[in-house]
Amino acid sequence: MPSTKLLILGALAIGAISVTSPATATAVPDSITLNQNGKLYQPFSFDHAQHILLIKECSDCHHHTTGTLVLDPNCARCHQNSSPTAVVSCKGCHSSTPFSPETLAEKRAHKERFHQDKMGLKGAMHENCIGCHKKMGTGPAGCQDCHPRNAKGDAFYSADRKGAKPAHAKEH
């Protein structure tokens, strides 16, 4: 029977999130490369270790899935005594395709579920990171403060048009 530690490592290693840990590997990664499949923005390294030192309560980000017990009273109604889950990575619960026909059909088939309104992966991470950074008054909150744009991103945002015409040029 696999240990919890292995399960956690396995869950973290799935897909786009890669994990780097020192030789004395624990289940908790020190840094995580995010946005690996980004089309408009570059991948970047997230300093997990620093956040553990700063925040301490794992549940602030990981909800009821790991570490300290959940604090949010709304979650505690059900997860007060939840034991840590096998999957703790963001993408383990938050879908990267929250609005695909498949996801929508799945949701409709399980209307009894409480977590009907679960955010997708991109939304959940931005809300979690930027939300906390703004609340704490520290940490990056602008798009390129975390992930610089690539050339495709510059084209997408028509970066070369900046100030080409006054922003309020009349239509007619």
Binding site: N74, P98, F99, S100, P101, L104, K107, R108, Q116, D117, M119, G120, K122, G123, A124, H126, E127, I130, C143, F156, Y157, S158, A159, D160, R161, K162, G163, A164, K165, P166, A167, H168, A169, E171, H172
Partner: protein, 303 residues
């Protein structure tokens, strides 16, 4: 009341005679929308005003290059409206509020009973079963009735194509995405998931649930659930909706009533209007295939 009914009868009669067929749901009054209609819930409390949705729409709909880049925040100095070159715009409100500014994306709301559609005498508009209000430029005569009729002031007129009148507005990405079940481009790009795509009926429940779970975060109203008979785009807000640019004077009746009042001002034109436009339409299109003088089919496929 009597005048209204009379006008309604005139309108339906006139259109039916002139166009051979009508698929407009005017008489229903309480049309709840198609049961499988999709929609988008805009949670303005999540929006950060990044304008990525504007950029995504520009690319998806192959719109002209913008006047300035999509990360230029100076556009927030003045409120903007959707145009033929930008089907969606994000505006900034509550600039000095202690809770920080509020951003609101606007575009066609894809009404359950679209005033643009009911006001159009050549059936250029179609409400699809997926909820999108789409538009066929091939039959449009450029009368701009829809621009006057729309309660949200949405359809834009493309002044660049003088000989071929083209009304332009958000089509809920019908051709490229909605038709095949994919979420609109603006929804997919939104980093904050301020835009939630799903069945309209589900989104209404979800919106009320968000309010219930976070009463401090939301003003207790879902804009678009009832307004003008309901719209496919729905909105949540932290404050009263009129503070962030919404028209809160609209009632829950479909806007066709207003169109009727507008047309009531020109009752004589009413009787000749369909014929007039059919005629102008024929002249302007020079379409040899339409020998019988009427476009009875809105062929959306050949857009």
């Amino acid at each position: 009341m009597k005048r209204r009914n009379f006008l309604k009868a005139c309108l339906i009669g006139g259109t039916t005679v002139a166009l051979g067929k009508t698929n407009k749901g005017w008489a229903s009054g309480s049309f709840e929308g198609y049961p499988e209609a999709m929609g988008v819930l805009v949670d303005t409390t999540r929006c950060v005003g990044c304008r990525s949705c504007e950029a995504a729409c520009n690319k998806e709909q192959s719109l002209p290059e913008p006047d300035t880049s999509f990360d230029d925040k100076s556009v927030f100095e003045e409120p903007r409206r959707p145009t033929a070159k930008a089907y969606t715009v994000v505006n900034e409100y509550e600039k000095k509020s202690p809770g920080g500014p509020v951003y609101r994306k606007m575009q066609c709301n894809h009404c359950n009973e679209p005033a643009c559609l009911t006001s159009c005498f050549v059936n250029a508009y179609t409400k699809t079963k997926e909820g999108a209000v789409i538009y066929n430029s091939k039959v449009c005569v450029g009368c701009r009735n829809c621009m006057i009729a729309c309660p949200f002031n949405v359809p834009g007129y493309d002044y660049d194509s003088v000989t071929n009148p083209v009304i332009k507005k958000c089509i809920l990405c019908y051709d490229t995405r909605l038709k095949v079940g994919k979420p609109p481009a603006c929804v997919e790009i939104c980093p904050q998931e301020a835009l939630t795509f799903g069945h309209r009926a589900d989104l209404i429940k979800l919106a009320h649930e968000r309010i219930r779970a976070n009463p401090d975060r939301y003003y207790d109203h879902v804009y678009g659930e009832k307004e003008v008979g309901g719209t496919s785009w729905l909105y949540l807000s932290r404050t009263e909706f009129d503070k962030i640019g919404f028209d809160t004077t609209l009632n829950n009746e479909p806007i066709i009533s207003n169109v009727k009042d507008f047309l009531g001002m020109v009752p004589m034109v009413l009787s000749i209007w369909p014929a007039l436009f059919s005629g102008i339409h024929l002249l302007s299109k020079h379409d040899t295939q339409q020998e019988h003088g009427h476009d009875t089919e809105s062929t959306q496929e050949d857009r």
